[in-house]
Symmetry: D3
Subunit: 307 residues, 6 copies
């Protein structure tokens, strides 16, 4: 006698899937897999890291004289692989919206081309992030150490690639790339956030940066900092309003110490310093130093820290 | 001359192991490896994900017309592999307790069979979790995005599988599966916790849910929320009492914002809203809104946040 | 027509690299890769885990009678692989400092030999950590469960190996090994920290322990605890002073509950208990119990929680 | 200075390819790879072996109770993968001939479906081959040994699959599958050959069976036997005539010993025995015994070269 | 609509298997896989090659100072893996014969232990084979080249290991190991053959050496040489007689050139030289030179077909 | 008790190795592995195949627009890997001869550079071989089929690469590459042989072409053809003379059918046709047709054994 009643379980699982698809109005006749692939994007990002930093994040036996050969080949492969994922998101997105996509193939190529053309600028931005970490952490012995060891550096590579895709109209690809970094570092930066140059996240575990956050240049934050939404406004039907600016604006040269929670569309003025564990829902003037004590003297109303 | 005195180190390590085994009263004569394997369970859970959601988490080239073939084959393989791990835990557990296990093989089959039979229900529960995330997060564009991108979805798949094994008397297998999700997401849900349908964890890093926590339906929590124990009671001999209910009860429709710490066997009434960073060790009535300000007006005694 | 202008992007990326190297005064003529490899160290640590705990973390089919054969072979392989990485750090470090290294090869061998000779002691220390977890957590059913499931155990294995390398003058190798554990567990222990025996970290996500922290024996901490620096003193030129003791001293038998933030070169006296979420920047006498309420009655000045 | 002048070699290789494509009238603009893949077919045949003989050639941990689950899943995967290769050959073939292929997709499905439907019959034919080897070789201890050890069995599995594809109008796929067996066994059976049931090839290295050979039931041959063409007739233009029957007909129950060379459209009558190293270009009557001596008009007695 | 009628094919294949099992009197109820595994033996032999020749066939980064560590570990692993395969053959063999096997486990250990104890002698024998090739082939530049490049060396390693297993009563394991070499080299040596020291096979493709062949010391043969049976005697029932000596005896110092076919229980006297393509079914006296001409009663002079 | 006496076997194997090294005058103190690696060369040749024929033998997803990027990268990687192997052979060779090698590194680079520069010519030669197969075999449907399916094509790619290395003074690397093809095809071409353009080997199993053979343009041979040495002359000391021309010269447009054995430094004149199984040790005039009959002075007509 067989140990397990496989047929019965398979049948019940089948019914569960059919039920779900009916409830979600999914087409049972569709074949194939229309969603971008997390594994494919993982491979693409890994290749792009080697394109951006060939001697540090490329293949271990690369020689400097061969950099351009490697970069050309890897870039070519990565862009074509990305093109496939771009097509999938455009098609998926069209399916959700029900709009026709007469130019899907040409759109996919244009978007991927634009992304590729951005890579040199992304490299330059990342150089400023690496330098900021090196200059901002007494423990950092070299820029190489930052690039290879610091989870914040990994998170920023993913963020800057993901943000570019987000700008180009590919929120799903962007989100998957961001979540790959989240899983590896515990740093959760929404790809919609806008972040200037020279951004440094130390330690990083538990950092959350929301979709509409705006961060200037040379900002430094520590572990468990949240730049979140204060509340989620709902429309007349009780549905959450989407796309509204709901996260903080952080101006140049601000420092935010570990565990601080900054909520809502407030503004931290240039050069402000926010102390550890501070709970903050109001604007802060330029140059101000906010400690936990100070912030606790406010009479706070309900503040929801979900980002 | 050899670079390293391998023989000497091997001998010293051998003595260290012997010392440990003597101190722990381990049998030096036993051969083989009696403990379940983390790698094996990782593979089993990966296969089960494809059994539960074949088109999203199964092999990338699966077609809908072939779902049932894949599910049957993968399920058969996963259950037989799990059976091997169940045997190991039962045998290991019997070894710890010193009780004979005359029916170990039959017990292992019965347990694995019961686990297999639960899978359709687990799938249906997970569908409610995915739907809750889609409806609760303005950023979620589709249920597919939730399933593929959200760390909370990954954590819940592991939790619901692990919880079933925990119920069936396999706490070690359950714990290993839960820790696999903890490592991947930073979300630490003890498999003994009881969680209703439609549970949504956003961002998730740093969430800790303790062994005796009870969570109702349609509950939503954010990153760094702790549902922990207030203190660990000891018995007359000073040893920790085990198995006592020591974690919160969270009723239906509660929302807990980021960083809130809820400790002890307290009850959060239906529909309560707990603000971010709130520190809470008392019951909360249904429908109440607790903000940080309010909770700080209490005079708190020692509260230990370990879960 | 080709889809992407690969040549143009390659050229721009090349210019970005050249610009960076000029700015960083990097030698464009150097060939090869002078930095230690994260992947190589991952493999070495994995092998060393099997050397330290052959029956639990070694190959799954190992038999007890074969332990010493496995340990000898794996140790030999791991030490030779480590030797290669030690060479790379010494060479890299010499390159940064500009000092000649006439004895680099002999130094590398001596250091690696000393590291190898430390392994039995490291095993014994880890045994105390495992035992502490087993005795300190009511949910732990066996020491095996601790070793295989607890992220704190993984973090301590990495820490104790990394700390030994740090002591031997290899801060980069040490850092990389520590970051491997950070990525897997969310526990960030700087390899420079000094930690006694019987150290137990429960849950662990978000724990940060700084470079100059000193921790006694039988200390227990929970998730999201920070042992950080209060501020970063700068020298006359405005540059951060390096190497100064700036993190807490934690004496024997202290317990620190989840989310507590302990900052600066303060001392927590023997047997002190620090409550959850406590914010602490002053010394604590032996045996004291500090709760959040108590600590909030202080009037705190600016406290920077970066570690 | 770079070691190698990569650019120059790349350019020269590029010119060589362009030259070839011009000479072969290949379209330089075509993108993609229109030819079936040897690696893909290797994978497909490996899967089909497990479909045909699940307990012997399927996955090593298969249990008999799970055979049908494995077979269904593997068959489904193999047929869909084969469908992709069938499309490629049809498209490639249409490109060579210049004929339009309005029904290519439907043709590919029909052909693959017909191939799938043949598998049970192929399994039954292979059973007769295995049995013939077991009965014909004193060294064979079991039918299992034949299936797992005998190169002749491997060659026949490939042949029977390839021959079916050849019949269905896919000579390239058939040829690739045949060459995979040729590489593994040294047995070169053209997929166009017609071979009855109960065919046994012992040792096998160097066996060559030509495209138009016809072999009856219960025939046995040894290593280095050639069933070849005597000459290649040319047409009026001096080009080789194609498709003409030019290889031997071997009737039921014939035995051909090692190294015999049988050439041309001759007929070996039922039950004939051809001695080792015999050179034969004439018909042989039923029941005749042909030794090397006879074929050379010497007076040697029958010498059978089977080992 | 699904492309393929998987259910129907699965059902027909199922019936084909059932039919075969009934015809072969196979027990349909048996679960598991009772036959030794070709893949497992491939891995075991690969490991044993590194045990026998650690610096040439062991892991590429092995250092001479570490040889014994590698050998001990690899040997331990290989013998335990082999023990598993020995059990399978003993169990399978008992199943075929229907005899009970009360001491199967102890027998398996004894046999494997005896095999392990033979390895040093096998290494010494292989050293003579390597030396013979080096001395007998003008093209061989070093003994290392022979060991690494010559298919004859590979075939002899497999043969000597397989022959020892054959002697120990494991004909199936022996056969599988021999066929692995046959597939890789085209050299087919039955593991039952007895071969002295210093045996050299040049080129080797197509060589066949039968089960009861006896070969002395310092014998040299070339490609496509057959040492075969002249005929297969049958008993009174018409069944092939098994185990009878039916292959040639080749005394010391004999040379046999390419393509020669030597059949039956004849004796080639010490130092005889057999020319290329010779067909031989009679004894040859010591020191004789047999050319094709002689064997054909022609007047050709000696022609040696070695390349 | 342990199953196996590993220590004893290890010790005996150690003694066997020491004995061998003493007998072979090997230095027991040397560390490392000075011999080229078969696996490394296998990888290098695989990469070079993709360099030579990127769209047919390169990565399966290559697009024509990306050919040059792939070729540049792969060529760069392959030449640097080859450089490492070249160093090993030069060093090994110097060790054998005892000559100092002051310029080893520069020699290695020069040789590898020269090899790289030959690749375009090798590609062009291989194009003629592929075309010859297509034109010479009625079964060949396209040049692509030849390149992907025909073992003769594989053998010629290896031969032409190996021959170039042989010319450049690297007989070991050449031999290893040739043996890789021998194992895969049963075709054994010594890399020292000289072969013109448009060479076609059909079927191929058992073909042996000796080191000093010289083959013109547009020659065609079939399976089991030997171009061998008639005898091995010895010098006054009885040692084999090396390097003497001892294999046939085959002029343009010759055809040699299956199983023919051509021995010694004889000359086959332009356009000669050698029948199947012919045994030939004399010169053949241009245009002659030699059948087995003729060579045996029988009256058989021409019989061509190609299949």
């Amino acid at each position: 006698m067989a140990n397990f009643d496989i047929h019965q379980i398979v049948q019940s699982l089948h019914e569960a899937r059919v039920g779900w698809r009916v409830a979600q109005r999914r087409n049972n006749d569709s074949s194939g897999r229309e969603f971008p692939s997390r594994d494919a994007l993982d491979g693409i990002v890994t290749t792009l890291k080697g394109v951006l930093f060939p001697m540090r994040l490329g293949p271990p036996d690369l020689r400097q004289e061969s950099e351009n050969f490697h970069v050309a080949h890897a870039l070519d492969a990565a862009l074509h692989a990305l093109l496939g994922q771009v097509r999938l998101e455009l098609k998926y997105s069209a399916g959700l919206s029900g709009r026709p996509t007469p130019n899907l193939e040409q759109d996919a190529i244009s978007i991927t081309r634009a992304f590729g053309a951005s890579l040199p600028q992304i490299r330059s931005q990342l150089d400023t992030d690496v330098l900021a970490a090196y200059q901002g952490d007494p423990a950092a012995r070299s820029v190489d150490e930052v690039l290879l060891c610091y989870p914040g550096a990994l998170a920023m590579i993913h963020y800057r690639l993901a943000h570019r895709l987000y700008q180009l109209g590919l929120p799903l690809l962007a989100r998957i790339i961001a979540e790959l970094a989240h899983a590896a570092t515990g740093i959760d930066i929404h790809p919609g956030a806008q972040i200037g140059t020279g951004f440094f996240i130390d330690h990083g575990t538990g950092v959350v940066i929301g979709e509409t956050a705006v961060i200037g240049n040379n900002v430094r934050i520590y572990q468990a900092v949240t730049l979140g939404a204060k509340r989620f406004p709902t429309d007349a039907d009780g549905k959450l309003e989407k796309g509204r600016a709901r996260h903080p604006i952080v101006e140049d040269d601000v420092v935010i110490y570990a565990g601080a929670t900054i909520l809502g569309r407030i503004r931290l003025g240039r050069g402000a310093v926010i102390g550890g564990n501070v709970w903050l829902t109001h604007d802060v003037p330029a140059g101000a130093h906010i400690s936990q004590a100070a912030s606790r003297e406010d009479s706070l109303s309900l503040a929801n820290a979900g980002a």
